[in-house]
Subunit: 199 residues, 2 copies
């Protein structure tokens, strides 16, 4: 079978976005990442930072409680986050219909897998390697890099569980999972592009 | 860095053993799998089937209770399984000291990672693909293939958690995790061998 879409889920600071861009460049297909936030901003009217945060990270209590415990069945109130989830599904589906592409984050693996042939990729790296990378890429903050990473991991995992009812970061949910800190960005790009081309 | 050892953890029925053998053949290094059971049999005096089962699968109540809940700290009785675990550690270390090789299963990723440069691989596949494979390889049994697989998955996960205090099948614990049912055996072999040679 030929893949239509490459979805890249990633730990914060693992270089997953860079890998997505480079795979797309190598394959001569578009990569969508910030462009999804652009469209969410345009169509929702919400502020950009609010969207970037709310579109991938658990933030309110019910997501944490239900996300960890029992999925979205306990959902008892519509929220901006739920509205963004619905809009995100629509935008991702529109993008996927345009043709082969790479999509980074936004639960695209879950959203698109039913209707499109997706190569589902997960990128991760050790806490040490990610801590080094986020300071290099985003600069130092008040909180330590490790504290920032632990918070992001926790929020992303809870968000994913809440909206998809599956577990983020469990190997069996992805066709390929790679440690970018160990293998290096270039090797990860080579592996993903080779699998995509092979099929 | 150059890797000394390739460790292959795998879901039952995913073809991880075949992949290990083929990677080793491609790299011209030995692959240890049944040989570990041979040595355990020789050194422990236990029956072969007993070793094959007790060396990777949780079987008694305390492993299930503690393995899922809180690791080995609650261990309250030595058992044959604990004895085999200690012997297995010794045998795997002896093997690793001999030189580059592939080791399939037996928690080698956890046991050897502290003292050797290990490329840690996890192989998995969908329930459907694995059900098909185990009937093909091991034949039909009284229990359905899916029931057999679910039991094996549960036992292996509990065994791993109990003795290693880490989670089996979580992407971040492996350098490479591959869906052999999706990618095919040959592609998995190519990826692992390329990463090993690349370093």
């Amino acid at each position: 079978m030929g893949y239509q879409i490459i979805t890249i889920s990633r730990q914060f600071g693992s270089g997953g976005r860079t890998i997505g861009r480079e795979v797309a460049a190598k394959l001569g297909i578009p990569c969508y990442d910030h462009e999804i936030i652009d469209r969410l901003e345009e169509e929702s009217g919400f502020a950009r930072d609010y969207i970037a945060d709310k579109g991938e990270y658990a933030s309110h209590g019910s997501i944490f409680a239900n996300g960890i415990a029992s999925g979205k069945n306990n959902l008892h109130s519509a929220s901006n986050q739920d509205y963004l989830w619905v809009l995100q599904k629509k935008i991702l589906t529109d993008i996927a219909k345009k043709g082969p592409c790479v999509i980074v984050g936004r639960c695209a693996d879950y959203i698109l897998d039913k209707d499109f042939d997706c190569l589902r990729v997960f990128i991760h790296a050790s806490m040490e390697k990610r801590a080094h990378r986020i300071v290099e890429v985003y600069g130092a903050r008040k909180d330590s890099p490790k504290k920032r990473l632990k918070k992001k991991d926790r929020q992303r995992k809870a968000y994913y569980k809440y909206y998809t009812e599956t577990q983020w970061g469990v190997a069996k949910n992805y066709h390929i999972a790679l440690d970018s800190g160990e293998l290096g960005i270039d090797k990860c790009v080579d592996i993903i592009a080779a699998v995509y081309n092979h099929e």
